[in-house]
Each structure stands twice: as structure tokens, then as C-alpha cells.
């Protein structure tokens, strides 16, 4: 992957590239690794629970942990807004979204899974790329009102084929809104390979057509992702407008729990991707610096497992969804017809 134009700090074995000077201090990197391990542990647990019918369909982050965590680390959740797609669990958690609420959403209790009022994040989006104009409007609105804050929006390379991508980037360019478009190029949109998605050399090449910079980064390199994103965040904070970042990574698991990649994926590709596992890479880096060991690895994994267990137990205690909730939050007030339908449903 170290290719012309693709920013990298660590090589796939976790060694610093020649001349690279990491800007992140080790404690912060450790913190990043913690999130990555939590995400990975959650994905295995959730897959098991989904197979037992306790969770709905979900999309694991496996393979993309550095991409999501490294970028999210560059923001300040107190002032900055997160506008997700659906494959960025660790970012939601880093923004303060409780894992228990995520579990409630996955287990069909989204009412209890509502985003807390003090968190600056929007709900996940399944209508692909539809979140992009929302993110631009939000950033533009902050700018108009002189409010602090930068917006980050995540989306896949597949989603970037939608018209919404274009219209949003173009509007962001025109308004100079403080936004970072974070495109995760994980090589697949369900079964559609990257090469069928676009003939562009890099998706980031599109930024020029909107009048702002585009950057390409090795998405499996936590340090590189952080640095490139941080630069974009700083630009936006200085009022210099949007950046499009293409994070080149790999979806190391199924698209979602209904998918079976063996139908369309060459096992060799997956093997190669596994050799570039972002977690192993950052573990190797930290080990080299004396910050990581087998014991630490065990300890972190145990803590993550416990955190997940606790959240699962807590989720059990949440109130179950009630039929009346079907009619909540439709409008501030139900129309007479809706009110009548509600009475019918509740047998009132």
C-alpha cells in the first residue's frame, strides 16, 4: 500500500517509515489502541449474539479500526460534530455514546437507544450518502452563527458514487464550511469491488473539482490517519474550509450479518488484508517502544470484554419497547387521524 500519494507513518510491520516522526505521544496511542481492541471485541461478541437471534443485522468494523479511531482522535467531541454512516462504532463511543445504547439499538430497542441530549452526534444513516448534505448544512450553520466546531462525516467508497456526495462536496466548497469528509475505502460495497465502483485513481482526486484539498492515507496506519485528519481539522478550525480524506483500508469481515463474502471474494485478497491488520501493526509499534507486551495485550482485552459484558447486562434492564412508541416523535403533536390510529392500536 505504500504508494505514491498515500500517506503512511508506519510500514505494515509497524516500523516507522524512514524520516517519519510520529506526532502522537505514546499514551494517546495506547488510548487509541484501547478503542480499537474494544471495537474488535465487540464485533466478535455481537456476531455471536446476532447468530443467536438476540441482535439485528449489523456491520462490523473489523479491519477498519485504525481508520475510524485514528480519525476520530483528531476531533474534540465537546465542540465537534460526528455525522456517521453505520460502520464507525468506536467513533460513536469516543464521542461519548454509551455502548449500552448501541446494544439497545442493535437489539431492536432504538427508543432507549436515543442519542443523549448533550452529545454532538447524529443518528447512523442507512440511506447511503444521505447524511452528507446534513453534515454540510450543520457545518455551514455553525459557520453562519459563528459557533465553534468542526463536522466530520464518514461514508464508504460505495456511497461516494451517489449524487448526494457530489452535491454535498460542491456546496461545502462554495460555503467554505468547516467539515471533514472522511471516505473509508474498504474495497467493497457489499459484493461490488472498488474497481467496479469508480475508474478514478483515488477517490480523493475528486476534491479538486470542488475547490478544496483531497488527501489519501493508509487507513490501516493509526498514526498516519490521525495526522492527516488532524491537519484537515486544523484547517477547518482556522476557517479554511473542507477537506476530503480517502482512507484506504480493507473490510476484513462480511458486509453485514446477512452477507456471505465467499460468494464473491478471492480468499487470497482477504489473506493479504489480514497481513496488514491495523491492530497488529500498532501493537508492534508500541511493543517496539516498550509500551506493549503480551500481558498488556491480555489485560486490555480483558477490560474490553468486561466493558461489553457490563453493557450487555445493563441493556437487559432497559425498559422494553412499548406499542405506543410507534406514535411517538412523529410530529410535536399527532394529527387527529394519527391520534385516532393510536387509539385503535392501543385498543382505547
Amino acid at each position: 500500500m505504500p504508494e505514491n500519494g498515500v500517506y503512511q507513518v508506519l510500514d505494515p510491520s509497524g516500523r516507522l517509515r524512514e524520516g517519519a516522526k510520529p506526532v502522537l505521544d505514546d499514551e494517546f496511542v495506547l488510548e487509541g489502541l484501547r478503542w480499537m481492541l474494544l471495537s474488535r471485541a465487540f464485533d466478535s461478541k455481537a456476531t455471536a449474539l446476532q447468530r443467536q437471534g438476540r441482535f439485528g443485522v449489523f456491520s462490523p468494523v473489523i479491519g477498519q479500526e485504525a481508520s475510524v479511531v485514528g480519525s476520530a482522535m483528531a476531533f474534540e467531541p465537546r465542540t465537534d460534530w460526528l455525522v456517521p454512516q453505520y460502520r464507525e462504532l468506536p467513533a460513536y463511543l469516543m464521542w461519548g455514546f454509551p455502548l449500552v445504547k448501541h446494544i439497545l439499538n442493535l437489539s431492536g430497542n432504538p427508543v432507549a437507544g436515543r442519542i443523549p441530549d448533550d452529545l454532538k452526534m447524529l443518528p447512523t444513516q442507512v440511506s447511503l450518502a444521505a447524511q452528507l448534505p446534513h453534515a454540510v448544512g450543520l457545518a455551514w450553520g455553525l459557520q453562519i452563527q459563528g459557533k465553534e466546531g468542526v463536522v466530520v462525516t464518514y461514508f464508504g467508497e460505495g456511497s461516494s458514487s451517489e449524487g448526494d456526495f457530489h452535491e454535498s462536496c460542491n456546496l461545502a466548497g462554495v460555503t467554505g464550511a468547516p467539515i471533514v469528509f472522511f471516505l473509508q475505502n474498504n474495497q467493497w460495497a457489499i459484493s461490488t469491488p472498488r474497481s467496479f465502483q469508480s475508474a478514478a485513481r483515488y477517490f480523493a482526486d475528486r476534491a479538486a473539482g470542488y475547490g478544496f484539498p483531497g488527501r489519501v492515507v493508509d487507513g490501516n496506519d493509526l498514526l498516519a490517519v490521525y495526522e492527516v485528519t488532524k491537519e484537515a481539522v486544523d484547517r477547518a478550525r482556522r476557517g479554511e474550509g473542507p477537506t476530503l480524506i480517502e482512507s484506504i483500508t480493507y473490510r476484513m469481515s462480511f458486509h453485514n450479518t446477512t452477507d456471505n463474502p465467499s460468494r464473491y471474494q478471492d480468499p487470497k485478497d482477504l489473506e493479504e488484508a489480514r497481513a496488514r491488520d491495523p491492530i497488529e501493526r500498532i501493537e508492534a509499534y508500541l511493543r517496539e517502544r516498550g509500551m506493549w507486551s503480551d500481558e498488556k495485550a491480555k489485560e486490555y482485552r480483558a477490560v474490553a470484554a468486561q466493558e461489553i459484558e457490563d453493557a450487555l447486562v445493563e441493556a437487559q434492564q432497559a425498559p422494553r419497547p412499548e406499542p405506543a412508541q410507534i406514535f411517538e416523535n412523529v410530529f410535536a403533536e399527532l394529527t387527529p387521524r394519527q391520534a385516532a390510529q393510536r387509539r385503535e392500536l392501543l385498543g382505547e
Binding site: 443518528p123 448534505p133 448544512g137 455551514w140 450553520g141 452535491e167 462554495v174 416523535n329 410530529f331 410535536a332
Partner: protein
């Protein structure tokens, strides 16, 4: 009190709300220096500047989509789509996103957004522009759909829309934009949604319309009066919420009804009106409810549009038949 056209009434409403509340902003194609292709936003950019009166790039989905984000940021966007037919370019952002954000965020993000657009034919605009597609929005159940037919309602309902905590699609009757003036109070006032207006009282039959079709109903009623048929004209004004009570009350009184709309007949909102009335007023009906609508074809060439759109002559015919049934 001044005598205003619908255009002027709309402008007065926006102006008032922008002066009153600095969070209110407008965005859309050509809303700035040009003042909109119909001049509804004339003079506003000079007063409020480009920050609050924003000429967007030519992309409808991003006009609606960014309004969602603007609202979340704390502003109150009033978005203009140049012609209702071009909401199709933004359909996924309108019904599914704007219309469901309160629901999908479980109440965390209500959206105080107004989307304005002119609708309807009779002015020889090219294809797509005049499409009367109001029924399609009603099928997106969490967006309000309102359609004034006169200057007084236009001002009051637009102020109501801008202040409504939920998204409102405000559809304007293009053909009537400058057709006639009416008394409109200078101060701000609101016309609540979900209340139909009795445009003319009558005894023998109820004519139900909305938007520019109300004028067609009124013409028809005048002609019917000459024949001794006393027609009540009901202007629905808002399709969501729907004033079922007033519809039923009128039809219970008259026992007969014709519904008139500009959209092609099939699956037009007229079908909902008929279905609702036959559910709620079945035993009061003395004759089948008739629908007078455009034909089930694409919008025809401009020179033939008046044959295609529902005319007062067709309404009179339908009413006569209904009364004699």
C-alpha cells in the same frame, strides 16, 4: 391592511419572520439578486445579506439536505425549490430524511424547516415544472403538506409554517401568484393547519378543492348558482393534517360532493378525500362522490394544457350529474 397578491403576501410573511427572528434564513436557486424567478424573495438579500439569503448551487437534494443540517445547527431554514416538479431530484431528502428525522432520532432532532415551491399548470411552463404531485408527499407520513389558495392564507399559513416545530411543505399556487389582490393585514398573524375553509356556503352539493383548484370550484359554484344549484366550496388548505371533520360536516349537510384537483386522477389526493368521506359519511351520501382531475397522461404540450387541467365546465357537469343522480 393592504391589497396584496399572493406573491406579495408570501414576501411579507418571510420578511416579517426574518426581521423577528434572526435564525430564519432562506436558501434556494436565484433567491438573491434576482429575488427568485417569481420575485417572492425580492429585496431580501439587500436587507439581510448573503448569509441569510443564499443562492445555492443548482442541486435540489442538497438544498433540502443541507436545510436539515442548518436546522440542527440552530437555524430556521426556509428553502425554496424553484418548481415543485423538481422536488423529485430531492425526493430521498424530503420524505425519508426531512420528514422522518424527529422519528428516527427518537425526538432528539426535530426539524423546524419550511420548504416552499410553486405548483400547477395553466401558465405554459415547460414539462415537469407544473407537476401536481402533492399526493406523493402525503404518502410520506411525517411531513406537513399545506397549500394556500389566496393571499390572506398565504401569509398566515407561511408564518405558521416557519414557526411550526416540524417540517412543512408549503405549496404555492403558481397560476394565482399575481391573479387578483385581497386584503392582508400588515401585522403578523397565523392561520392554523388542519382547518379547512368554507370559501362559499351552499346547500345542495359540496365542491372540495385545494390550491388553484379552489378558484375552479368557485367559478363552477357561481355557474351552478345560475341554474339554481347551491354549491358549498370547501378549501382544504392543508392535506396533512387533514380536516376530516369539516369535510364530513359539509357533506353530511349537502349529501353530495365533487372533488377537484390538478393532479392526474389515479392515486391523486382526491382519492383520499373520497375514501375518507365514504368511510365517515357513507349514510349521508345521496349520490356517488365524483372526482374532476387532470387526465392520466403526462403533462401535455402547453397549447393543450387547458384541455387537460380540470376546468370549471367539467366541474359544473360533474356537479349537475351528481345532483341529478
Amino acid at each position: 391592511m393592504a391589497q396584496l397578491t399572493i406573491i406579495e403576501a408570501i414576501r411579507a410573511a418571510i420578511l416579517h419572520e426574518m426581521e423577528e427572528d434572526e435564525r430564519v434564513m432562506i436558501l434556494g436557486l436565484d433567491v438573491g439578486r434576482l429575488g427568485g424567478v417569481f420575485r417572492t424573495t425580492d429585496g431580501l438579500i439587500e436587507k439581510f445579506g448573503r448569509k441569510r439569503v443564499f443562492d445555492t448551487p443548482l442541486a435540489e437534494a442538497s438544498i433540502i439536505g443541507s436545510s436539515i443540517g442548518l436546522a440542527i445547527s440552530g437555524l430556521i431554514p426556509v428553502a425554496e425549490i424553484q418548481f415543485l416538479g423538481f422536488t423529485h431530484q430531492a425526493f430521498h431528502q424530503l420524505g425519508q430524511q426531512l420528514g422522518r428525522y424527529r422519528y428516527r432520532s427518537r425526538g432528539r432532532f426535530p426539524l423546524q424547516v419550511t420548504v416552499r415551491a410553486p405548483m400547477g399548470g395553466g401558465t405554459k411552463t415547460p414539462e415537469f415544472h407544473p407537476d401536481a404531485i402533492e399526493a406523493q408527499f402525503v404518502q410520506s407520513p411525517a411531513i406537513k403538506v399545506v397549500m394556500p389558495s389566496n393571499p390572506y392564507d398565504a401569509k398566515g399559513m407561511l408564518i405558521e409554517a416557519i414557526r411550526d416545530p416540524d417540517p412543512v411543505l408549503f405549496i404555492e399556487p403558481e397560476r394565482l401568484y399575481r391573479k387578483g389582490r385581497a386584503e392582508v393585514p400588515d401585522e403578523a398573524y397565523t392561520v392554523p393547519f388542519g382547518k379547512a375553509r368554507v370559501a362559499r356556503e351552499g346547500e345542495h352539493i359540496t365542491l372540495i378543492g385545494w390550491s388553484a383548484a379552489v378558484e375552479v370550484c368557485e367559478h363552477a359554484a357561481a355557474k351552478l348558482a345560475e341554474e339554481g344549484i347551491s354549491a358549498e366550496v370547501l378549501d382544504l388548505r392543508s392535506l396533512v393534517p387533514l380536516d376530516i371533520e369539516s369535510m364530513v360536516a359539509s357533506v353530511v349537510k349537502t349529501g353530495r360532493c365533487v372533488v377537484v384537483h390538478e393532479a392526474p386522477l389515479s392515486a391523486g389526493f382526491g382519492a383520499e378525500v373520497v375514501a375518507t368521506l365514504q368511510e365517515e359519511a357513507f349514510y349521508s351520501l345521496d349520490a356517488p362522490i365524483a372526482r374532476v382531475a387532470s387526465y392520466d397522461t403526462p403533462y401535455p404540450p402547453a397549447t393543450m394544457e387547458n384541455l387537460w387541467l380540470p376546468s370549471s365546465a367539467r366541474v359544473v357537469n360533474a356537479a349537475r350529474k351528481t345532483v341529478n343522480a
